[in-house]
């Protein structure tokens, strides 16, 4: 792929509003059965306003954005910080862009800044990916 340049944007991925159904499915499928994501009574007893999304659900959405853009075999590193909690009904959009091209062991890698954000613009996940060009 020679069309990847500094400044190239990764096609964004906009998700449906986060629902309890989404969280229940993700709890089961991911194996993260922490009740704070699926049991409102438990979440409230732990001092949270309600259940909230697994960070790894949004990271999986970022992963979808990356593999929609490039084949997964090109993805070498993928990392993020969880900057804010994703609440029920939040509409998350994943986006990213190439910020640097690196030469490593004879290969060209695109360093991409990636993020997940709420409709308000508040960032929930902030990270980067290294993708072979």
């Amino acid at each position: 792929m020679t069309d990847i340049q500094i400044g190239s944007e990764i096609p964004a991925l906009e998700l449906a509003p986060i629902s309890r159904y989404t969280l229940a499915l993700f709890a089961g499928a991911s194996g993260d059965h922490n009740p704070i994501h699926i049991d409102s009574d438990f979440a409230k007893s732990a001092g949270m306003p309600d259940v909230f999304a697994h960070g790894m659900l949004s990271m999986a959405y970022l992963g979808r954005m990356l593999t929609n853009w490039q084949p997964q075999a090109k993805l070498k590193k993928f990392s993020n910080k969880f900057a804010a909690i994703t609440q029920l009904q939040d509409v998350i959009t994943c986006s990213g862009k190439v910020v640097e091209l690196l030469e490593q062991e004879g290969k060209t890698l695109a360093r991409c800044e990636i993020q997940a954000a709420k409709a308000s613009g508040e960032q929930t996940l902030v990270g980067e990916a290294l993708v072979e060009v």
Binding site: M59, G63, T67, L75, K76, I85
Partner: protein, 147 residues
């Protein structure tokens, strides 16, 4: 405060087989539409051995030991006070349905911020397939809310 003597603590490695149905369930849960992540024929048509595990799936493998949260048990944490601080993956080879992955993990750091109001536990994982090939490594940081 979490006892820093646990820095370096290694958890018992375990092995888990990647089930096609589990990958399909995971794909559904994250809204994945590319069939290489849930349909074997589609995966094979694109040159894959079988259904491909998506990039964050190693995290799910890390929860497949008999005790899904051994760090919670070892450090006597309350699960309702844990948040996910950060997550990193590095990839060396694909993970497919039918692979048997061995997961090794250890605590690499424990520290606190805001005068102990928040404590952090950093964990490191390695994922090795049935051929002894290291397929991925990951690190994650858990945040523990005190008070």
């Amino acid at each position: 405060m979490i006892d820093k003597k646990f820095i370096g603590h290694e958890f018992k490695p375990f092995s888990t087989t990647i089930e096609k149905g589990r990958l399909k369930f995971f794909a559904k849960a994250i809204g994945e539409t590319n069939p290489i992540y849930f349909n074997e024929e589609a995966a094979k048509a694109e040159g894959h051995k079988s259904v491909l595990a998506p990039p964050t799936f190693p995290f799910t493998l890390s929860l497949e030991s008999d005790d899904p949260f051994p760090v919670v048990t070892a450090l006597k944490l309350e699960i309702g006070r844990i948040l996910h601080g950060s997550q990193d993956f590095e990839y060396f080879a694909p993970i497919y349905a039918g692979d048997e992955i061995t997961v090794s993990s250890k605590i690499v750091n424990i520290f606190d911020k805001k005068g102990g109001a928040l404590e952090f536990v950093a964990l490191q994982y390695s994922f090795t397939n049935q051929d002894g090939e290291l397929v991925a490594t990951s690190t994650n940081t858990l945040v523990y809310r005190n008070g």
